[in-house]
Amino acid sequence: MMNSIEEIKHSADAEINNISTSSKLDAFRIKFLSRSGLIAGLFDQLKSISTDERPIVGKAINELRTHVQSLYDDRKSKVDLSSKQTEPFIDLTLPGRERWIGSKHPLTQTMEEIQRIFFHMGFSIADGPEIEDDYHNFEALNFPPDHSARDMQDTFFITDKVLLRTHTSPVQIRVMEQQQPPVRVIIPGRVYRNEAISARSYCLFHQVEGLYVNKGVSFAELKGTLLSFAQQFYGSSIKYRFRPSFFPFTEPSAEMDITCFLCNGKGCKVCKKTGWLEILGCGMVHPNVLRNVKYDSEIYSGYAFGMGIERITMLRFGIDDIRILYDNDIRFLRQF
């Protein structure tokens, strides 16, 4: 009995060294360690030997099993490693399995960026209808009926008194009608102008309007807020200027220019050789507008500003034809 234990040990010791594949290793396991293997056979024979000898032989078989098992385990780890290295050949230069990519419309990207900056400055968002009445779009904003200021904005009419809003400013009125000061909102939205479609103008576009009304708001604060915006949006090193302009609903009114970032102020086609780019219109809310929403213009003052998203987007990305924004060609959209 002890002899056969010794024999098995020898043959296991000898065989294990020649094993280099997992299939041979498995054959080794079946031969020695499986239920019908040699070691299991030794345990079966154990029943036929005397009870005196049984513990000693049993112990020897157990030691044999532990020994062979460790031979097996030891070899297995080596075989596994080497078999991994010899897996079937894969061409790793094959293209990876990509997925389709989507994209955010460049107008949305500009809009979100502007919104983010003003959120951080304490502005919240307001919204209003695109089909607007004459009162909110013009009259309440200090455009009297039969006034030439209305010609600044060619209007699409639905009826005599109903129109497609020509700017987001009517939402200023709607916000102030529903809320007492302080008011600090931005108003993104779609507006319409009845103008011939060309590379520079489309029949609709998007604006972001801003409004802040409180006690003691001054032009100095308007300048500060817009400068903070411009520095965040266009870069902290920009040069800027405010120059007088006219909007019926603000007074004093201004336009803000920054140095042309395409030519660094040297003058190019885009800035019409002036070195400046007009980026927004603004001003102090006209007392007539405050009066129209029943705010006391002796107690409250405020500022408003508005900018065109298309224009800013075109400047940012160097787009030279506004219509491409509305063509939505996938090759265009994927560039952003």
Partner: protein
């Protein structure tokens, strides 16, 4: 408007460069949009004399010319048949850009270089009228008068040594729509004096009022009407200086009298009209509203039908002008006119605006009246024109201006509190400084400075030419302008109170980001479309009364046609495999609807929607995976995934097989039992309209419903402590049993212990009976309070099998 620098300089001394002046004007609110150096295009064109001419040795039709251009003599090969000795001609030197190439079918410009023509060198070109852009004559070189001076720049010769500013005048500043108006601002800006031309009028002894009878019936719309008569004028071309000024501001010279009225208009901003005095019936002028049904032929020889609202200038028989807008053809100044009546009037801005709108006319006159002209300048303008006519056209100016001015318009008086200036602008200046600034533009306090000194309120008198200044804030703006916007402090220390952002914007951007991550590209499309498209799915489309074109005459009632149009555009460009989305509004006319304040006005309804559009393959093709054409379940799957992403439940997808105008065969999406949209195949009608021959799938969802019902409060639930038990099962059911029916029965039977049901196989074929199908499911069971044992699971499985058999007649597939 165009402002000539030469012209401007006659009213104010300007000692800065054109570029600097432009910059300074821009900074006080008169944006110089462009600067044009008129003569620039004639750089390198010079007047010369042909001093030698001989035949070209190698070409019959060419001559060799020597041309004296003052300081040098150039050799030029010339092909013109009319070149002769001693002619004064225009020479383009090497480097000149010739405006039109005579040999180019489109007449494009070209740059002159030194060339050899058949062996002879040519150092320039003698130009034709056409080549210079000065006329249509191509037949030979342009020959100038003998007294033209050799060596003179062509620009100077043509009176083009001028710089012209294109100035954007805002509608509130009609006073600046003239050279004197701009000069006034320049004078204030540079601290110079405004030089208004002095009048030197020689009047005859005859009184004007004896020659004309003027009656203003409608003095409300015509508060002041004045005029002058000049007898015996000679109508001819204007002198060169006058023509140059007018051409510089893009006014075509007509004849001396008309040119002078235009000159005065551009000089001082007062529109004038010259009538042929002899054609004014009975020498009577009446200012009144038109009669109903009246027609009138204006200067542009167009017949116009008048309304009783139109203010007209009429004589004793007929209308002779539309007040403030345009004169009539019958009384216009012609070559044979001898005696003229010059009208200098003040019309109400609203009346002129209404008529101008009605006729679709915008003239130099109407633009100024509409914005508000200066009632005080009328006699001066009439005198100024009469004086120039006398000087240029000869004639006798009758004595005195006739002036119908029943109710004198007083200058406005506006109060200003200096401390309010500081409050609004955020600066600190004193009342003295405020007055000093306003004084620069002739806005003066009504009281002596001493009396004003103690007051916190100062009265200012506003000149007649500033209709825009009506209230304190208008004066504050003037102070700001003169103080300089850029000198106002920039206060970046604003008080800040953070408010929460409107939540729906965050959710929309969450949905947008998910869609982009899932391979969709965002589109933004036109909300105006063809009426036939909008009417396809709603009778309540909102029509635009004055559309640009018929294909943009109606607001969209669905995002589907716009999406299909964009898909078509992309297909036409050869783009395949499209996945798009758009957030957009739809618009409806709804008489019963009442304004919601912030969303829509009464009678109209606006609805926010989300649309997904699909075309082409459902997935990318790989080297070991084929692409599959998209089908409706791809769209449904994305919508389901999106809904899971935003924790939206209680959703139903209800199949329909009917065809409507926009879609056919699809699923209605219900959220909380309310129809929220659909997932469908685009209808053939729509595909045919856009000429698309493959399937397009869409999903259109009402976004407000989505936002309203999505679960915005995310609350943590404990993870299960006990293991999930999996069982696979397959049922054979009749073909017409829907998967949804079967799943509902299984879920019902499985009760709350059945966590998840996944359909992993559908089989129809040899293995099952005809008319039947097999559906295989992977079921997950879980209890939150104990580990499920085999017996429990077996019991539930048995219930499921029984229910499927009992309700749907389904059998367990073994």
């Amino acid at each position: 408007m165009r402002i000539s620098l030469n012209w401007l300089k006659t009213y104010v001394d300007i000692d800065i460069s054109a570029a600097e002046l432009a910059e300074r004007l821009t900074m006080v609110g008169f944006e110089v949009e462009s600067i044009e150096h008129l003569g620039e295009k004639y750089n390198n064109f010079i007047i010369g004399e042909v001093v030698e001419i001989s035949k070209h040795p190698n070409a019959n039709k060419l001559t060799l010319c020597k041309v004296n251009i003052g300081k040098e003599i150039l050799s030029i090969v010339c092909g013109a048949p009319n070149a002769k000795l001693k002619q004064k001609v225009v020479v383009g030197r090497v480097g000149a850009t010739v405006p039109h190439n005579q040999h180019d079918p489109n007449g494009l410009p070209f740059v002159l270089t030194h060339v050899k023509i058949r062996g002879e060198g040519s150092f320039g070109m003698i130009c034709s009228e056409y080549e210079l852009g000065l006329g249509d004559n191509k037949d030979g070189i342009m020959v100038l008068p003998e007294d033209s001076i050799s060596g003179c720049e062509l620009a100077t010769f043509l009176g083009l040594d001028d710089t012209v500013f294109e100035v954007g005048i805002t509608p509130n500043r009609p006073d600046a729509m003239s050279h004197i108006g701009i000069a006034r601002e320049v004078a204030a800006m540079l601290g110079k004096k405004l030089k208004v031309p002095s009048l030197r009028l020689k009047e005859s002894k005859q009184l004007t009022k004896a020659y004309v009878n003027i009656k203003v019936v409608d003095s409300l719309n015509c508060p002041r009407y004045s005029g002058r008569i000049v007898l015996g004028v000679k109508i001819e071309q204007s002198p060169k200086w006058l023509q140059s000024y007018l051409k510089a501001v893009n006014i075509r010279p007509i004849n001396n009298v008309v040119d002078i009225t235009n000159f005065v208009l551009m000089e001082v901003g007062q529109p004038l009209h010259a009538f042929d005095y002899d054609k004014i019936t009975d020498h009577t002028i009446i200012v009144r509203k038109a009669n109903a049904g009246e027609t009138f032929t204006s200067l542009d020889h167009k017949g116009r039908s008048l309304s009783t609202d139109t203010l007209m200038i009429v004589d004793s028989k007929r209308s002779i002008a539309i007040a403030g807008i345009m004169g009539g053809a019958e009384t216009e100044i012609t070559e044979s006119s001898k005696n003229i009546f010059i009208e200098s009037a003040y019309f109400d801005s609203r009346s002129v605006r209404r008529s101008a709108k009605r006729f679709g006319l915008s003239t130099d006159a109407s633009q100024r009246f509409e914005r508000g002209s200066d009632p005080s300048i009328l006699p001066w303008a009439a005198d100024r024109a009469s004086q120039l006519i006398q000087e240029i056209c000869g004639g006798e100016v009758l004595k005195n201006v006739v002036d119908i001015y029943p109710k004198k318009i007083k200058p406005k008086v506006v109060n200003l509190r200096p401390q309010k200036v500081n409050e609004v602008l955020g600066i600190t200046i004193d009342s003295k400084e405020v007055s000093r600034l306003l004084h620069k533009i002739d806005i003066r306090s009504s009281l002596s400075r001493n009396k004003n000194k103690q007051k916190h309120k100062i009265q200012y008198i506003v000149p007649h030419y500033r209709p825009d200044i009506e209230a304190e804030i208008d004066l504050i703006e003037e102070v700001a302008r003169l103080y300089g916007y850029n000198n106002i402090e920039t206060n970046q220390n604003a008080t800040l109170s953070l408010q929460s952002s409107a939540p729906e914007y965050n959710y929309i951007s969450e949905i947008r980001d998910w869609l982009i991550g899932s391979g969709y590209s965002e589109i933004i499309s036109n909300s105006m479309q063809d009426i036939s498209l909008s009417l396809l799915n709603s009778k309540n489309a909102v029509e635009i009364a004055n559309p640009i074109t018929q294909d943009m005459a109606v607001l969209r009632t669905s995002l589907i046609p716009g999406m299909v149009r964009i898909i078509k555009n992309n297909i036409s460009q050869g783009n395949k495999n499209l996945r798009f989305f758009e957030f957009g509004k739809t618009y409806f006319f709804e008489p019963s609807i009442v304004s919601s304040g912030s969303s829509y006005i009464s009678g109209f309804f606006e609805e926010n929607r989300l649309i997904l559009g699909y075309f082409g393959q459902a997935n990318k093709q790989y080297w070991n995976r084929k692409a599959k054409p998209v089908d409706i379940l791809d769209v449904k799957g994305d919508i389901q995934t999106l809904f899971q992403k935003i924790f939206l439940d209680n959703i139903k997808f209800i199949p329909y097989s009917t065809t409507n105008a926009l879609t056919n065969r699809g699923l209605v999406v219900e959220i909380q039992g309310i129809k929220a949209g659909e997932i469908a195949l685009v209808s053939n009608t729509l595909l045919e309209k856009f000429d698309i021959d493959q399937s397009v799938y869409i999903a259109e969802i009402k976004i407000d419903l989505l936002l309203q019902h999505m679960d915005k409060r995310k609350i943590f639930k404990h993870l299960p402590k006990y293991p999930v038990v999996n069982r696979d099962v397959a049922f054979i059911v009749a073909e017409n049993v829907s998967s949804e029916q079967l799943i509902n029965v299984i879920q019902d039977a499985g009760s709350s212990l059945l966590l998840n049901i996944e359909l992993f196989d559908i089989y129809q074929g040899n293995q099952v009976q005809e008319g039947k199908k097999s559906l295989a499911f992977s079921l997950e069971f879980l209890s939150y309070d104990h580990t499920l044992n085999q017996v429990e699971i077996d019991r539930i499985m048995q219930i499921i099998i029984n229910k499927v058999s009992g309700i749907l007649g389904g059998k367990l597939r073994s």
